[in-house]
Amino acid sequence: MPPISLSSFVFVAVLLAGYWSVSGRARVWLLVLGGWLLLAAYSPIVAIVVLGLTATVHAGVGWMRGDGTRGRLVAALLLVVIGATLLVARGVLLAVAAEGWRVPPVWSAGPLMPRLAAIGIAMVCFQAAAYVIEVYRGGHGERSIADVALRTSFFPILPAGPLVGGRKLDAESIGRATLTGEDVLAGLLRVARGLLKKMVLADTLAVFVDSVMASPGDFSGLTCWFAAYAFLLQFYFDFSGCVDIATGLARLFGVELPANFDVPLLSKSPREFFERWNVSLTGWLRENVGVARWSGAAAILIGALWYGQSANVLLCGAYIGVLLWIWPKCRLAERTTGISWLVTFNLIALGGVILRCPSLSSLVEFAGSMFTLADGPVAGKRYFALCAVCLAFLAAARRLPSGRIAFLRRPVATGVLIGLAVWALILLSPGVRDFLIGTTFAGA
């Protein structure tokens, strides 16, 4: 079942109807079952792995209770099992994806299913590991298998997160939850926002980025700079769009997910950027693993490592390390806000280029074109304008007091906004024809 398709919408609608017509444990298991079914639709292997992992973690967590040594041993064993599962599943998925020893990146144009399955299994393992560590650190009381299953199989978060820890996702509160009109409005609006980010903004920018990255030598240096900015925005809108969809869906199920982004593109230092990017993972790492200063960079590197572009990831890691080390020494943060933002944005965009270029040789070619401001046709002015508009919108939205936009939360206004979003999807999204009609129009 394609993740964004009529069939998946129908599936979610049916699941929602069933979910709100029952209560207590039945509701929790229905949700878990829905997650397993979706995973099985993506890849039966992933569903089997998740079932096995859930049972193992539940059993293991039961043995952890007792004296400290046994607890430590079992926790370590469980983490090893989860890590091994991640590696094995990754290998299997690579075999399925048949794209060499590399998980297809989120932004790649390859088959969507292996990508989603890849991200899904990674999220399941992160969730399981987080659960084990939380239990080991005494963050939980008595927990049932339903709790473990919920943590590992809550389907809205599997494609892209956010990481949900603590008591935000427990069987007891889900069983008692009630659906309010505000939940429906906020949930649908968030889903629409996510779809816009993903299918209109990210997918539109991807068209430009892909063409420039494929042959940077054919474009001018200025175009390569445009492409670098466009990729940063594409990556952000892609990731945060998926998280918005997850957050909106979760809200429809009565679950409030933590924020995962705090407008990182407006950061005024690299460290700030990493702390505002993938906030859930960063926060969890800070609280549970104790890597306070480097948590943001660690979160990025965990994601990058999963995708396994070895040379680029190593280089990107080194680049981030240098950035974080050198920035405080430059005292740029003390300068004007605009300059620090501009420098930070450009530095992060360069990091994005390192991550995005398919090989080191293409990275060299791309960077050469950027820094020598090579001659050639200047393309992508419209995309650059789109990037500028997006950034301006992000800045304006951040400054707007929430009281000013309270009227947008009224039912009719929400309906209008969702209507606008749907039409924007229909008319502006490059993938809309796939979504609506299931094919591409050669004559369009």
């Binding site: 009529l6 009630t178 659906l179 309010t180 009109g181 505000e182 429906v184 409005l185 649908l188 009224r410 039912p411 009719v412 206004a413 929400t414 309906g415 209008v416 906004l417 969702i418 209507g419 606008l420 749907v422 039409w423 229909i426 008319l427 809309v432 024809r433 609506l436 009609i437 299931g438 094919t439 129009f441 050669a442 004559g443 369009a444």
Partner: protein
Amino acid sequence: MNRSQRCNLFRCLGGLALGFIVTSVAIDRIIAAVRLPDVPGTINGPARRIQALADLDRDPDVVFVGCSYSAFGINPAVADEECGRRGSPQFSFNLSSGGTVALTQTRVCEEALASAHAPKVICYELSPGILNSRETSLVYGVRSIGGLREASILWREEPDYRSDAVLAAAFAGSNQWSDIRTAVAATLQGARLDQTKYCTSPAGWMEWLGGRDRREAAIQHAIAWRHYYWGEYRIDDFMLDAVRRAMQLAREANAQIMFYEVPMSTAWERIIDDSIRARYDAAIEQLVSEGMPRPWSPPAGLFDDGDFFDADHMMPSGAEKFSRAIAAPILELRAASVGASQRLAG
């Protein structure tokens, strides 16, 4: 959930639906106005064919007036060659264009007969689709139906079956279909922006399509569904009046008029169910009883399904056969016309 929570939930859902519907309708209308502006005068395809007639450097002896079946199915050069081979050279011109019905075709006849290149013989196509009032309302109710549907209608008037093929393929792929989706797709294709790609040579289109897109049964059904099951099949009096008016116009201009039916593939014959066929036959019988010449049909067995690039539009091979076949009744009509004038002169 208590009563107040339930009320709040329904209030929110109601408001949400209201806002969504109002926005969607408003945007639909805006798109209709912005992307599909009104074209003054008659509808697009026939207007261009009339202009092409006006641009000729000599008077045609014969014109063909029909819908896309004739646009693709008649090659005037072949018909002329056949007539010449039989000892009666002629120059014919094809005024057919996609999406026409009896009302449109009669209007085309009127324009052609009033033009500087008025023909001596009009060959007027008849088929179940051409008498279908439901198709008429779609074609002529352009501004009143709504932007989305309007898009698809205007688009249907273009004999651009490349798009048709892709839409149909989409149907076959997704197994789902609706007017809205068709229309949105048509809108997205910039229905009216494709005019420069319009090809006045049906043979050119057929070659293009034939090489690229041999369609399968499911796709053929999709096309049939869109043409014939869009709404209820209906033949209203104004459609029959249009045919009567065509005959009257020909009489007034001292021109001959001949009615003909185009061949159809077996898949298409299956699509047109018995009730549609019965109503069409009854309408033809009524017109014949009023003095209309019985429509000529090509001999049975002359065509096979390989002569069609979809369910109902002919490939060049089919067009060649049909154009040669239709030469015979045209020659008879012209001979009768010459005989009558000689008798009158004598």
